[in-house]
């Protein structure tokens, strides 16, 4: 008897807001969460805008639980808030008999931002200009005086998963996968397998990240991966458009409650959708470039479809990785063609990164949530800012306007730096399947 995995709750913290319905409505209207960067002084950076989470107060989400989590890093705060929403959405706060050793956590959580002011102070004060080397004796004195133990500990990428275990009192398997931009899609796929094989009944899964800090933007700017359309932030994220010039860095968290079907039914949970397929592969090609044939993406999509026992023709909607870089969108298109063949032009494809920006480790989870909502409401979110067709991106990207459609089976892609490819299949729940 195969164990089936359903989604019973969802929550997210995004650049467009903090509640499922409000953000979803904004996405369907094509609104942008992108604006000038305010988290640090980016005036002279090549990229001066981003998709920040606005008006966020962790205390408002956690209430009495807040005080012991007050020192968390930014991304962990997003995860705690999103998980609180998801937990309530799944009515797990009302479940009287939950066996908490059977509830686990699997996040694709990013590392916390460095303690920037203190880090730079120690680095600069510790620098020996005469010998062009760091004087580690001097550095140690400054660092010891300035660094805070808790701030350093909270930077570890698995701290969000650890805080979730404590916040919800859950003692099951606890993981963090950090596979760059694919992390939360990976996490949800792996969590699905954990439930399927019986290692847990419920998994809190998704991702969280914030790289909108000087070193994060520096890293992506040096790679020339970010859009530099500083004069027009709201139209800067242009997936599949010929004039695309890079992705827009965002931040946030998306968390889903995954649950074994019988467990969900026994407690009378409302079932939002079913996760039926997952595929993970590595390009094994180059650290900087995607394999030119899209072989890793093709293999991930094929593995996910086979896992879900679905033919490509049965897919109603593809939530693309669609970052808005020249390379990604071209090769993702190629990979979709590789899997879907002549059927490819008939499948609606969109990228909500055109509105939310690229939430890096959190992207896949938030995008999967949009798939679940697309199934629920029979509407496909648009790819905004699409104006100039690219001959290398010649599929149906649902340009600029949400579209009504019957959506039963969705495929969601996430591809990470370093050639990590992950694909999920999520479907309308059908008890008779």
């Amino acid at each position: 008897m195969n164990r089936r995995v359903v989604i019973t709750g969802m929550g997210w913290i995004t650049p467009l807001g903090h509640d499922i319905e409000g953000v979803w409505a904004a996405i369907l209207r094509g609104e942008s969460g992108i604006a000038a960067t305010t988290l640090f002084d980016a005036r002279t950076f090549p990229t001066r805008f981003s998709a920040e989470v606005k008006d966020f107060s962790l205390e408002r989400f956690l209430g009495a639980e807040y005080s012991r989590h007050r020192d968390v890093a930014r991304q962990t705060g997003f995860a705690l808030a999103a998980a609180t929403l998801a937990w309530r959405d799944a009515a797990l706060d009302l479940a009287p008999t939950l066996d908490r050793t059977q509830v686990g956590v699997y996040l694709g959580g990013g590392e916390g931002p460095m303690d920037f002011d203190n880090f730079t102070a120690a680095a600069v004060d510790g620098w020996n200009y005469a010998e062009n080397v760091l004087d580690t004796r001097r550095w140690a004195e400054v660092a010891r005086a300035r660094f805070r133990e808790v701030t350093e500990a909270e930077q570890e990428p698995h701290m969000a998963a650890a805080h979730l275990a404590c916040a919800f009192g859950v003692e099951g398997p606890n993981f963090n996968a950090l596979t760059a931009c694919a992390a939360s899609t990976q996490a949800i796929g792996e969590a699905t397998n954990i439930i399927r094989r019986g290692d847990a009944e419920v998994m809190i899964s998704g991702g969280c990240h914030s790289m909108i800090h000087p070193f994060g933007v520096t890293g992506f700017n040096r790679l020339t991966a970010l859009s530099t359309r500083n004069d027009s932030p709201t139209t800067a994220s242009r997936p599949f458009d010929r004039t695309r010039d890079g992705f827009v860095l965002g931040e946030g968290a998306g968390v889903l409650i995954l649950e074994e079907l019988a467990h969900a039914q026994a407690r009378g949970a409302r079932i939002l959708a079913e996760v039926t397929g997952y595929g993970s592969t590595a390009d094994a090609f180059r650290i900087t470039d995607i394999h030119e044939d899209g072989r890793g993406g093709i293999a991930a999509m094929r593995r996910a479809l086979a896992d879900a026992r679905r033919r490509p023709e049965e897919v109603d909607y593809i939530s693309a990785h669609g970052t808005g870089t020249q390379e990604n969108d071209k090769i993702e298109t190629l990979a979709i063609r590789g899997v879907f063949g002549p059927h490819a032009p008939k499948v609606p494809i969109s990228s909500v990164k055109s509105m939310l920006g690229h939430l890096i480790a959190a992207a896949g989870a938030c995008e999967l949530i949009t798939c679940v909502l697309a199934i629920r409401d029979g509407v496909i979110p648009p790819t905004m800012n699409y104006s100039t067709p690219d001959p290398l991106c010649d599929l149906d990207y649902v340009p600029n306007q949400a579209r009504k459609a019957r959506v039963r089976v969705c495929l969601s892609n996430s591809f990470g730096f370093g050639g990590q490819n992950d694909t999920l299949i999520v479907e309308a729940f059908d008890a008779a399947r």
Partner: protein, 450 residues
């Protein structure tokens, strides 16, 4: 659904006492200690000035010629992983892309690249401080001042960041360990990077075990690597109050797991990667089989994200799950491979977990503790420990923990110390716990019957 059986056919480690599992294991049996004064940087103003350092890292001998340039963008953690992967693949006598390109074997690869997976644990990789601090210092407002030189964000954005290599970010993304390993050996099947501190290796190996068990791959390279041997890594642990600080003049006696007068942990660097393989695949290619992975369990502390449960509850949960998964009773475990990091609270909690599961037998099962000789290799430590434990079963001898003199009666464990002990161990339990985070994991390995 039929589960595939999963065996260990290769082990590769890079540790402070040796390169490769043979060299490392021999050194431990000969009672060598890899902990010494830090040479990677001047540690004289740090409270702890000792570490388990990998002295020589001949990475160029572990990659194909055409890949040597890529070494420039490898953080130390990545170097350790790529080396460990090479040693593991060689130990398994697998003909991978790397081995063939290096001309060490001829013919075709003996593993299908689309059925060759990777699951590699990683830590929070520290940026190269010399590179980053130099770039930051280039835009200081008052470079001539002795203190408070001032950092200029506006000059950083306009010019300072240009001093970093374009690929700077890719040097320390955690998934770059798996990225380089998968490129070098051509592993295109399921791939993952687990970042759960010291539990990373065990979780990665456990998940690779599951991937093979359900038939999603034929072979997986899995484990982890990390180096905390840099000023940031050392300072972080100092601030957290975990380090032995009174043994700078006696490094070989510094880290004393489960000792009555243990005084903390010692940072280290290292990598460990295992080749896990479906039994049938291993048999078909006539591979040497060290042992079989038979059980995996994972859990978490729900009380605090850093402090260990005093009763070891989260670890005991992981152990129980792993034993249930292996369908064996606690009586069958005859070797314990603990986390044993050397801090008062962690060792006490771990011992409590072991006692909770094994009851009176806890005092008689041999315990193989490695960190007295190696220190804490972070995300790499679990796979290194596991490899040493598997080797102890394979060679029928348990290397002693030379630093532990008098086992804490409150711990109540039979830690092998002093001299190596002959062993007939057949079934090992291996444990790990993330010191920040509280994730726990347990693996059960059965010695090869062959």
């Amino acid at each position: 659904m039929k589960k595939e059986r999963v065996v260990i056919t290769g082990m590769g480690v890079v540790t402070p006492v040796g390169l490769g599992i043979g060299e490392t294991f021999d050194a431990l049996v000969q009672k060598q200690c890899g902990i010494a004064r830090i040479t990677a940087f001047d540690p004289s103003r740090f409270a702890a000035q000792i570490a388990g350092e990998v002295k020589a890292a001949p990475i160029q001998d572990c990659v194909p010629k055409g890949y040597r340039k890529a070494v420039k963008v490898m953080a130390r953690d990545i170097v350790l992983a790529v080396m460990a992967a090479y040693y593991a693949v060689r130990d398994a006598r697998l003909k991978t892309k790397c081995v063939l390109e290096r001309g060490e074997e001829t013919g075709e690869p003996d593993v299908d690249s689309t059925r060759f997976g990777a699951n590699i644990g990683a830590g929070l990789i520290c940026a190269d401080l010399n590179e980053l601090a130099g770039a930051l210092a280039s835009v200081a407002e008052r470079p001539e001042a002795a203190t408070d030189r001032g950092f200029s964000m506006t000059r950083w954005g306009s010019e300072g960041m240009q001093n970093l290599t374009p690929l700077w970010l890719l040097k320390f993304l955690p998934n770059m360990l798996a990225c380089h390993v998968t490129i070098v050996h051509d592993c295109q099947a399921p791939s993952n990077t687990i970042t759960c501190g010291e539990a990373s290796s065990h979780l990665a190996i456990g998940e690779a075990f599951r991937t093979l068990e359900r038939g999603d791959a034929d072979v997986c390279v899995c484990g982890g690597a990390e180096s905390k041997l840099n000023p940031m890594g050392l300072m972080r642990q100092e601030l957290m109050g975990r380090l032995v600080t009174d043994c700078n003049d006696r490094p070989e006696a510094a880290c004393r797991p489960f000792d009555v007068c243990r005084g903390g942990m010692v940072i280290a660097e290292g990598g460990g990667l295992m080749i896990l393989e479906r039994l049938e695949h291993a048999q078909r290619r006539g591979a040497r089989i060290y042992g079989e992975v038979v059980g995996f369990g994972a859990a978490a502390s729900a009380r605090h994200w850093i402090k260990p449960d005093p009763d070891g509850r989260a670890l005991a949960l992981a152990i129980s799950k792993a034993l249930r998964d292996a369908q064996i009773s606690p009586e069958e475990i005859d070797l314990i491979n603990p986390f044993g990091v050397g801090t008062s609270a962690d060792d006490a909690a771990e011992a409590a977990a072991i006692r909770q599961v094994f009851g009176a037998r806890a005092a008689s099962i041999p315990v193989l503790a490695t960190k007295g000789a190696l220190g804490n290799c972070g995300a790499g430590s679990g796979a290194i420990d596991l490899a040493i434990g598997v080797m102890a079963m394979h060679r029928r001898v348990i290397p002693p923990c030379v630093t532990t003199r008098q086992v804490d009666p409150a711990c109540g464990l039979r830690v092998i110390c002093g001299e190596p002990v002959d062993s007939r161990a057949e079934t090992m339990l291996s444990l790990a716990r993330a010191m920040c985070g509280g994730q726990t994991a347990a693996l059960v390995i059965r010695r090869s019957q062959a």
